[in-house]
């Protein structure tokens, strides 16, 4: 079956009423967590993962994917109206979006953000549709050394782009790998670091770790800071950008889409990185760069387009190679595995209805999000008025139930609280969670491919450097590790201001 035929299969799956419902739910929840500061898509996905155990894998993945790209839409609303990023990928939108709102142009800012997101998201999915099959065919030829090298590269890129010290980010990656080794060794059957606790024989669950590090820790932090959310009192009107707005934004949307898509595919990349890079590029190509930060519509269009196409691009390495490129995709990988689906090159042949169903639902979801974010903008503005002290206990209870119901084990709730405290201390001491989560998820796969590679090569590390793909990936990873040592370059590290993806 050709790509068009497979896409038709995808639409037939996505248009089934139940899948349509979960697609809508995902988009709705995604917009909700995008609008609300403090709860990102990663925490929301882990929160709802147990709820998806009762539904089919395709519906579950459709919903969870919807949460991710939906959050990209919703995040801009808070950035523009409140000057607080609803989620990390919209942080840079605050700069010009809020200024536009202050100048009475909140409507066009929200409008161009939604239209830009829609255009970029749709182009991103189209790119994914075209690239998936060739990439999966290529991935079939990947052996353990290639997988090992790609995973190493992903982890190194993420640590390189960390907002704090790269050494600390690498430490977090090591800690994540160590956490991933807790439980029974799949090769020898030996129990590792379980200290006689039966619940640890299967390892520490992904959901308690993510909920603790992203959900509970955020609540503990918020207890000490009062979140002031001053919302614009003026009515949001004129959501459709003018012809002049479109002329100014078209180039920004196109550039943002291309940058976002390719940075989304990049291991360690994602929506956050792409929004920052596209903003920087826009400033660079502009004839009036000094006006950026004063309410330039390009400063809204570019990052919002970039984060949406990146959100779509990030699905490519996960679904075709089985390697998550960022922490949200790591969460989705966990969800796929829980549902008994192994992502990777064989996903297209073994479960075409899941792969193409998700792709089809993304086209539909993007259209749903345009409707959710434009005519219904008033609803989201009202939601921003809900006091945080009311939302916080609710989120805590949701985290507890979410952790418990994944295996009906109170130990999971206990682990979630422990990781909540760890996450809180990490945030206080400026250690980042995304490298830890990504390494934790990739750790077991990394170990397996490392051991396999060494067994095949009879103990020779040459195997990693004698194959072009693995050699290239490892060389890039090595360069990225060495780069920060050079003092002049350390100051210019491009991603040094990136907030967490989750």
């Amino acid at each position: 079956m050709d790509t068009f035929g497979q896409l038709l299969l995808g639409f037939s799956v996505a248009l089934e009423p139940i899948n349509l419902f979960y697609c809508f739910m995902g988009c709705l929840i995604g917009t909700l967590v995008g609008v609300l500061p403090g709860l990102g898509p990663t925490a929301a996905m882990s929160l709802l993962l147990p709820a998806t155990l009762h539904i089919t894998p395709v519906a579950a993945i459709i919903m969870l994917a919807g949460i991710y790209y939906g959050a990209m839409y919703g995040g801009s609303t808070t950035s523009i109206l409140v000057n607080i990023p609803g989620e990390a990928a919209s942080a840079v939108t605050c700069l010009d979006g809020y200024q536009m709102a202050r100048q009475g142009r909140a409507g066009p800012a929200l409008g161009i953000s939604a239209f830009g997101s829609f255009i970029a998201g749709t182009i991103g999915i189209f790119g994914m549709t075209l690239m998936a099959v060739p990439l999966a065919n290529l991935a079939i030829r990947f052996g353990p050394p290639e997988y090992f090298a790609l995973m190493c590269l992903g982890m190194v890129v993420l640590t390189f782009l960390s907002s704090t010290s790269m050494i600390r980010a690498l430490m977090m990656a090591c800690f994540g790998v160590l956490l991933g080794t807790v439980g029974t060794d799949t090769v020898s059957g030996t129990a590792r670091f379980s200290f006689g606790i039966t619940e640890l024989l299967d390892g520490i669950g992904l959901v308690p770790v993510v909920m603790g590090l992203f959900g509970i820790s955020e609540m503990l932090l918020n207890i000490e800071t009062k979140i002031d959310r001053e919302i614009f009192k003026t009515r949001v009107k004129g959501l459709f950008p003018t012809v002049q707005d479109w002329i100014q934004s078209t180039g920004a949307i196109i550039r943002g889409t291309v940058i976002g898509f390719f940075l989304g595919i990049l291991p360690g990349g994602g929506a956050v990185l792409s929004s920052f890079v596209s903003y920087a590029v826009e400033k660079k190509v502009s004839k009036t760069p000094e006006k950026f930060g004063t309410g330039m519509i390009e400063g809204v269009a570019a990052p919002e387009s970039a984060n949406n196409s990146a959100a779509q691009g990030a699905f490519i390495p996960l679904l075709t190679l089985g390697i998550p490129s960022n922490v949200v995709m790591a969460m989705l990988l966990g969800a796929l595995i829980i549902h008994g689906v192994t992502p990777g090159p064989l996903l297209l042949t073994n479960h075409p209805q899941i792969f193409w169903g998700v792709v089809g639902s993304m086209y539909i979801g993007n259209a749903m999000l345009l409707i959710l974010n434009l005519p219904l903008i008033g609803v989201w503005v009202q939601l921003l008025k809900v006091p945080y002290p009311i939302l916080m206990p609710l989120i805590i209870v949701f985290c507890i139930i979410g952790s418990y119901t994944i295996a009906n084990s109170i130990m999971d709730v206990f682990f979630m609280l422990i990781f909540g405290v760890i996450g809180y201390l990490m945030k206080k001491l400026r250690y980042e969670a995304p490298p830890l989560i990504l390494a934790y998820v990739l750790g077991p796969m990394l170990e397996y491919s490392l051991k396999q590679s060494l067994m095949v090569s009879k103990g020779s590390f040459k195997i990693f450097f004698s194959r072009p793909i693995s050699a290239t990936c490892l060389m890039i990873a090595l360069i990225l590790v060495v780069l920060p040592i050079i003092p002049k370059l350390r100051k210019k590290r491009p991603g040094a201001v990136l907030p967490d993806e989750g």
């Binding site: 709820a51 430490m171 080794t181 206990p393 949701f398 109170i410 206080k428 001491l429």
Partner: protein
């Protein structure tokens, strides 16, 4: 601040040493036949080396006061919140979801923002009922019933 980071790095060093020792006990193996302790052993060594570099960097250059990290913390609120959450976990099976969550919410609503008791009671009841409806009735999740049997 310097002292805090020194302590943190020493913690990482101790952790790395402990993991190395446990990995050694598990059997590290060699490159020809990696054992179950192979990856954790080398990951822990790398962690230890990074912690050592970080420690040296801290000793060389960290400035600022501890209040930059710990300033603004409401220790009282934090301890009550964590204490309540851990107590909830311990008593979860015995109290059951409905009663346990209602009591937990009473404390949470009260300590996060000192609302009046009427608001606290109403919010706690509503939230407990709402979550019960969503998770137990709608999604058919199995949550403990506790000593009261509901």
């Amino acid at each position: 601040m310097k002292r805090t980071f020194v302590i943190v790095n020493i913690f990482w060093l101790v952790l790395s040493t402990a993991v190395c020792a446990e990995s050694w006990r598990l059997h590290v193996g060699g490159v020809h036949a990696p054992g179950p302790g192979f990856l954790p052993f080398y990951a822990a060594i790398l962690l230890g080396l990074l912690a050592l570099i970080s420690l040296l960097q801290t000793l060389k250059g960290a400035k600022g006061s501890a209040s930059e990290i710990w300033g603004g913390i409401h220790f009282g609120k934090l301890v009550i919140l964590l204490g309540t959450l851990f107590l909830y976990v311990i008593l979860f099976d015995w109290l059951g979801f409905l009663l346990g969550t209602f009591l937990l919410l009473l404390v949470l609503f009260r300590i996060i923002e000192p609302y009046g008791w009427k608001t606290v009671l109403f919010s706690s009841l509503l939230t407990t009922a709402g979550t019960y409806f969503f998770f137990v009735i709608l999604l058919e999740s199995r949550l403990p019933k506790g000593f009261l049997g509901f």
